[in-house]
Structure formats: structure tokens, C-alpha cells
């Protein structure tokens, strides 16, 4: 069973990082706090015998996605501190906090009230530990979910093409701006 000390330390890391993401004024600090949360979640995955997912979590999220965030922040030079008080809709902050507190209360009350949240029957396939976990995950991925797996490859190709098209410097707008400068 999961060690309570591991669970509470990893939870504290996760929640500190999560609050850091939404409260840090500087986007770079937000990105680094996101790394902290992701590492905490990777620890939770290891504690739940999901070793492959823990490794992928660190490699893909902390290694690729957050680096991409930092890269864009540096590229655009938006790493200036943002004034959190500056708001066009002041009521939006209170509405957001009310939404957060309300949905948290509903979810927690539901989970705590229902003593046993799981009602389904246990699987016979099993969720073995160690390298057996990777083998089971691969078998499930390439047999039951093989069409979904192929579709994700299509999704990644579309995302790459979309990113290239979106981030390319638009030629026609350059021409328009140079034309307008000439006319001025």
C-alpha cells in the first residue's frame, strides 16, 4: 500500500507548484512551478505502480512541454512581471474564486461522502508492477487501443503542420506593412 508520508510530501509539492503557477507574476516562475507540480505527480505515479507513465511524465511534460513554454516566453520577451491587480472585469476574479470554491466543495463532499468511490468489478487483466507493467501497457496499447494509437499519430502530424503554418512569418502582411510605410 502507499506510504502516507510519500503521499503527503508529494501532495504538498503538487499543491505548492499549482498555487505557484496561478499566483506567480512572472510567466517564467509559473513555468518553473509547473515543473514542480509535474514532478510531484510523477512521484504519485510511481507510488501507484505506474512506472512507465512516471518516466513519460518527466520526459514529455518536464522535458518537452515546459521547455517549449520557456522557449516561447524567451522568444517573445513576455517575461515581464504582470500586474495581477490590473483587471478590466473586476467581478471576474470574484466569479472565478466562487466557481473554484464551489466546485471544490461539491467534488470533495461527493468523494468524502461516498465511502467507496469505486463500484465497478475488478479487472482480470491485472496491472503488474515493474517491467511487467510496461509489457501490459504496450499490449493494451497495441491491441485494444490500436486504432486510437494510429489516430494519435495523425493528430501529431496535424499539430506539427498547424504549428509550422501558424508560426511562420506571414509574407503578405509584411508586404502590406512595407507598402503602408512607403505610402507614409
Amino acid at each position: 500500500m502507499v506510504d502516507p508520508i510519500v503521499f503527503f510530501i508529494a501532495s504538498a509539492i503538487c499543491l505548492t507548484g499549482a498555487f505557484g503557477v496561478i499566483l506567480a507574476r512572472n510567466p517564467v516562475h509559473s513555468a518553473l512551478m509547473l515543473v514542480m507540480t509535474l514532478f510531484g505527480i510523477a512521484v504519485q505515479f510511481v507510488a501507484q505502480e505506474a512506472h512507465f507513465l512516471a518516466a513519460v511524465q518527466v520526459i514529455v511534460y518536464a522535458g518537452a512541454i515546459v521547455v517549449l513554454f520557456l522557449f516561447v516566453i524567451m522568444l517573445l520577451g513576455v517575461d515581464k512581471a504582470q500586474n495581477l491587480e490590473l483587471s478590466i472585469l473586476p467581478v471576474q476574479r470574484w466569479a472565478a474564486l466562487t466557481f473554484g470554491a464551489g466546485s471544490l466543495a461539491v467534488l470533495t463532499a461527493f468523494i468524502v461522502n461516498v465511502r467507496e468511490p469505486v463500484t465497478g468489478a475488478e479487472s482480470v487483466g491485472g496491472i503488474a508492477t515493474g517491467s511487467e507493467n510496461v509489457r501490459l501497457l504496450a499490449r493494451s496499447l497495441f491491441s485494444d487501443y490500436v486504432y486510437a494509437f494510429e489516430l494519435t499519430s495523425l493528430l501529431l502530424v496535424i499539430a506539427v503542420i498547424g504549428a509550422v503554418v501558424l508560426a511562420r512569418k506571414p509574407k503578405d502582411t509584411e508586404m502590406v506593412s512595407s507598402d503602408s510605410e512607403r505610402s507614409i
Partner: protein, 101 residues
């Protein structure tokens, strides 16, 4: 004391709600994307907790797909942010009402 599935569900719910609240109160589009990542991670934790509880590998497979979709979402989202911020530097989500037609 014993850590049951409910503890993981509460932690996942907390991360999801923190991410959702951040998505609503922050104005920097980059930080908003990070908040979406927080929400996805809260759900991932829930999936893994159920996979462990029900002894079923399917929950972990779903988390694998969520990771792929999150990567694609970030790539396209950051491409959009780069395209918008190159046109109007220093813009926030409030200034992006020009797309409403």
C-alpha cells in the same frame, strides 16, 4: 493510516479546480495554457488512481493518450500565441476580442 483511492481523487480534484480558477483569473495566454496543463494533470492522477484501484491497465492507457493530446494542444496553442503576440506585442486575453467577427 491508509491512503485510499479517495485521497488521490481529492488531490486530483484540487489540482483541477486550481487550474480552472487560474484559467479564469489570469490574463497572460501562456499562463492560461499552463493552467490547462494543471487541469489535465489532475485528471491524469484520477485515471491512474482508478487503474490501481480496479487493477485495470486501461486507465494508464488513457493517461498515455492524454499526454499525446496535451503535447499536440500545447504545440498548436503556442503557435497561435506566437502568431498573435508577433502582431500585437504585450497583448493579453482581454485584448483578443478582435476575433469575435
Amino acid at each position: 493510516m491508509e491512503i485510499t483511492t479517495g485521497w488521490y481523487l481529492v488531490l486530483g480534484a484540487l489540482l483541477f479546480v486550481i487550474g480552472g480558477t487560474g484559467l479564469l483569473i489570469r490574463r497572460n495566454p501562456l499562463v492560461m495554457l499552463m493552467c490547462v496543463e494543471l487541469m489535465l494533470n489532475g485528471v491524469n492522477l484520477t485515471f491512474v488512481a482508478f487503474a490501481q484501484r480496479l487493477n485495470d491497465i486501461g486507465g494508464q492507457t488513457v493517461v498515455f493518450f492524454v499526454l499525446v493530446v496535451a503535447a499536440a494542444e500545447v504545440v498548436v496553442g503556442l503557435g497561435l500565441v506566437v502568431a498573435i503576440l508577433r502582431r500585437q506585442p504585450g497583448t493579453t486575453a482581454d485584448d483578443l476580442s478582435a476575433l469575435k467577427g
